[in-house]
């Protein structure tokens, strides 16, 4: 008896759920392949993620081209912003790597604006956030990870392995400390990629929930989630900047660790 009522109520709930607008805040993370291509077994399909990545990168490039269409000694508004961005990245590189970081400046510059503009274009309604894809951030983070390993071995040879041996420790502790150091080193790309991806995902999920309530609640209640979604969009703009900043800073720290063995 109890079982049947439960079944009926479940049925009724399903029917009600099918009729009511369904909340699905994770829906907009769905990657949709527009063009399926796989020449030579290499998957180069163009999806909404890729398209919005391109739009972001085009925005970066044309923003700088537009800001510097007529470079002037006394900068205008756009040029000031572009120069501020340049000096900001240069400050990060100088602060965290030092003079030997000059060759990495273009990479760090590109990385920062790549992540920043992907974060920000994702806030446009109907757009797609490329940095909310774990695989995109993981690709960037693994690239940085392998670059730092390559730099370490290129610059220091096998001495780079000394990076995993903390100095000034009793020998007895080494069997304990070396695996910890290795694990923390291997955790770097994971934490770097998951931090960015999870921030973007969580932020957009919260926004999705708020938008859902703002759209479906009766007018008497919808203004609250609507107002909150406005506030949270501003917070997301800020978080997008902070996450790009942290991604860049950590990149510089990792490169610096490989260039100068401090341990």
């Amino acid at each position: 008896m109890l079982l049947t009522t439960t079944a009926i109520s479940v049925d009724a709930a399903h029917a009600a759920a099918a009729a009511a607008p369904r909340m699905d805040p994770l829906h907009h993370f769905q990657v949709v392949k527009y063009i399926q291509m796989a020449p030579f077994g290499l998957d180069v399909s163009i999806s909404n993620s890729v398209v919005w990545m391109w739009i972001s990168l085009a925005a970066v490039f044309f923003f700088f081209r537009y800001a510097f269409r007529r470079p002037e000694m006394v900068p205008g508004r756009m040029q000031s912003v572009a120069e501020a961005g340049y000096l900001f990245i240069r400050g990060i590189v100088d602060e965290n790597i030092g003079p030997s970081g000059k060759p990495f400046f273009p990479m760090v510059f590109t990385l920062f604006f790549f992540v920043l503009f992907c974060n920000w274009t994702g806030l446009i309604p109907g757009s797609f956030t490329a940095t909310s894809q774990l695989i995109v951030t993981a690709t960037l983070a693994l690239g940085i990870f392998f670059l730092s390993i390559f730099l370490g071995f290129y610059k220091h040879g096998l001495k780079f392995l000394g990076f995993f041996v903390p100095s000034g420790l009793p020998v007895l502790l080494l069997p304990l400390m070396v695996p910890i150091e290795i694990i923390s080193f291997l955790a770097r790309p994971v934490s770097l990629s998951v931090r960015l991806f999870a921030n973007m995902t969580a932020g957009h999920t919260v926004l999705g929930v708020l938008f859902f309530f703002a759209a479906t609640l009766p007018w008497i209640g919808s203004w609250l989630p609507f107002g909150f979604s406005v506030v949270f969009t501003a917070v997301e703009i800020f978080i997008g900047f902070i996450q790009a900043y942290i991604f860049t800073i950590l990149t510089c720290v990792y490169i610096n660790d490989s260039l100068h063995l401090h341990h």
Partner: protein, 75 residues
């Protein structure tokens, strides 16, 4: 136990990890405000590190959230 209810419980437990992040954020901003009150001149320099730290602490919470989502996918 059935796997679906178990996965829901697991998701809740994973998301409960956000509490730690909340404690961390509160602790950090409290300390930061204390520091600004003591040294108003250092606010500009310190607030930079406060925001970096906030992003780090927040990220820890989001690891839990990601774990919850992973469990949701497996459930």
């Amino acid at each position: 136990m059935e796997s679906l209810p178990a996965s829901f419980i697991g998701m809740g437990l994973a998301a409960a990890g956000l509490a730690g992040s909340g404690i961390g954020l509160g602790f950090m901003f409290g300390k930061a405000i204390e520091a600004f009150a003591r040294q108003p001149g250092a606010e500009a320099q310190l607030s930079k590190y406060v925001w970096i730290g906030a992003a780090f602490v927040e990220a820890i919470a989001l690891y839990g959230l990601v774990l919850a989502f992973i469990i949701m996918g497996k459930g």
